[in-house]
Each structure stands twice: as C-alpha cells, then as structure tokens.
C-alpha cells in the first residue's frame, strides 16, 4: 500500500480561497438575468458552480484525490446512482405530457 498522504495547510487554504471566490461568483450570477440568453441558464450556472465547489471539497478536504482506487470507485458510485434517480425520474415526468 502507498504511504499515507498528508495534505499541506497551504493546499487547504488555497482550496478555501477558491471556494470563497466560487461562493461570491454564484451569488453574483444569480443577480444577472442569464435566462434571456438561454432558457434555464441561471440554474445551469448555479449548479455548475456548486458541482465545482463540491468537487474541490471531495478531492482536497476529503482527500479523494489521494485515496486508493477502490475508495474513489465508491465515491463515483454515489454520484452515478444519484444521476440515475434524477435522470430516470425526470425523464418520466417530462415525457408524460407527450402522450
């Protein structure tokens, strides 16, 4: 097994700074009407920023980047199953009106 990886405070602080910038960005983006360019763009941008923030937390704060492959597989699984639930359910509800 590989040696236990220790993430330095410097990395933690940079990640924290990045998360703060993203938080400011998402609040700002919500005050701009992006929907005029593309319907639903506001929520897409908000979720994209949230996903980026969550990824930073998982990869660095939670050491996902330095974890063994099998732990990483478990992490990806959670996202995968969540996607199945959201995607399948929404495709059902959206397509009901087509009948």
């Amino acid at each position: 097994m590989s040696e236990h990886h220790i993430v330095s405070p410097k990395i933690y602080l940079s990640i924290f700074a990045a998360l703060m910038v993203c938080t400011a960005l998402t609040v700002y983006a919500a005050t701009v009407d992006l929907n005029q360019y593309f319907r639903g763009l506001n929520v897409i941008v908000a979720l994209a920023i949230a996903t980026l923030k969550a990824s930073l937390v998982v990869l660095f704060f939670m050491h996902g980047k330095y974890s063994p492959k099998r732990t990483q597989l478990i992490i990806v699984c959670s996202v995968f199953w969540l996607a199945i639930m959201l995607f399948m359910t929404m495709s059902d509800y959206v397509s009901r009106a087509w009948l």
Binding site: M1, E3, L19, M20, A54, V57
Partner: protein
C-alpha cells in the same frame, strides 16, 4: 481498551486498517447521498412544475444570512481539514484548537439558521401554521408556496440535524483530544468525523443556490 490504535488481527498493516476505516465511512456517506438525493429529487420535480411561485418564495428568504452561513460553514470545513492535518503531523494541541474552532463555527451556523427560521415564523411562512405567503395571494399561489417552504424546512432542517449530530461528534473528539488520544500514528476518528463534516458542507453547497438563489435578478 480498544480504539487506541493498535493493529487489529484481521489486518496486515496499519495502512490497510486505516484505509478500511475510511472506505467504511465513505460507504456510509454514499447512503447519505441517496438519502438527501430523494429530497433533491422532490425539490427538482416541484420546482420544474411551479417555477414562478418557487422563484417568488425563494426571493422571500434572507440572502445575506444564507450567504454568510455559506462562508461560515466552508470556514468550518477548513478548520476541520486543519484538525486532520494537525493530527497527522502529531501536533496534539493544535488538533484540539482546530476542533474547537470547527465546533464554534458550526454553532454560529446553527444560530444564524435559527434567526432565519424565526423570520419565517414571523412572516407566516411556516407550512400549516397560519400560512399566508403574502397579502392577497391566491389559494393556488399559497398552496404552491407551501410546497416550497415545506421543502425549505425539510431540507435545511435535515441538514441542521446533521450539523447537530456533527457537533456532538466534535464534542467527543475534543474530549478525546484533550486526553492526547490523537497522534500521528492514530487519528482515524478525526479523519472520519472530518469526512462526515465535509459531506454536510457539500449538502449545503447545493442547498444554498437551489433554495436561496432562484431568479434573484
């Protein structure tokens, strides 16, 4: 007495033992993702059905408090990560310091959440309790706004419950760390509670834009 960091019989190396503990924690967190996932699913469905009322109801919750809370919670994740680092490099007293900092920030978060809840009670925005979204709102608007606030209270309430459990775990860690339990060779509890704390942070990272930031323009 177990929990002192000796190698258990079923493992070959300390690394293997540590990785197993972390893997087990992650499996638990996967079940938590799906637990919260059900609520996010309900939210997505209702928001896509009643986009306008959800936007209106979202604008009535306090953005400033929500944004401040986001900063506070991400700050607490930083101090939690620093506690794990301090344990890994064997700085025993720093571990206690960062754990206490995390607990304080978590408590501040819950306090601000309490202020927000109080606002909602005053404004008759609590579903079931004399609910009235705004003066002269139609019955349909009221009904759909109640859906938003039901989800708001269920999701932030469940999140707050996780924070309270996390605060309890932190108290236990602080007690143990004051006795000098966590060292460079044994810090699994700090790491695993850290994983839990960061997970709760991630839930908030999604709750914040979804509940507070619908159509703020």
């Amino acid at each position: 007495m177990h929990r002192s960091g000796e190698l258990y019989g079923q493992f070959e190396t300390m690394d293997q033992q540590r990785e197993s503990a972390s893997l087990g924690m992650w499996v638990f967190l996967v079940t938590e993702v799906l637990f919260f996932g059900g609520m996010f699913m309900t939210y997505t469905l209702n928001r896509s059905t009643y986009p306008d009322v959800f936007g209106e109801a979202s604008r009535s919750i306090n953005l400033t408090l929500g944004a401040v809370n986001t900063v506070v919670l991400i700050g607490s994740s930083l101090t939690m990560a620093m506690a794990v680092w301090a344990a890994q490099v064997g700085k025993t007293r720093l571990v206690t310091f960062f754990l206490i900092a995390t607990l304080i920030l978590g408590t501040v978060f819950l306090g601000i959440k309490g202020v927000e809840y109080h606002e909602k009670f005053v404004e008759h925005h609590v579903p079931g309790l004399d609910f009235n979204f705004e003066l002269g709102a139609s019955p349909a608007t009221n009904a759909h706004a109640q859906l938003f606030f039901s989800l708001y209270f269920a999701m932030t309430g469940l999140h707050a419950l996780h924070m309270i459990i996390g605060a309890g775990l932190l108290l236990w860690l602080i007690k143990e760390s004051l006795r000098g339990r966590f060292t460079a060779s044994y810090n699994t509890p700090v790491e695993n509670v850290g994983l839990y704390w960061h997970f709760v942070d991630i839930v908030w990272i999604f709750l914040f834009p979804l509940l507070y930031l619908i159509d703020r323009h």
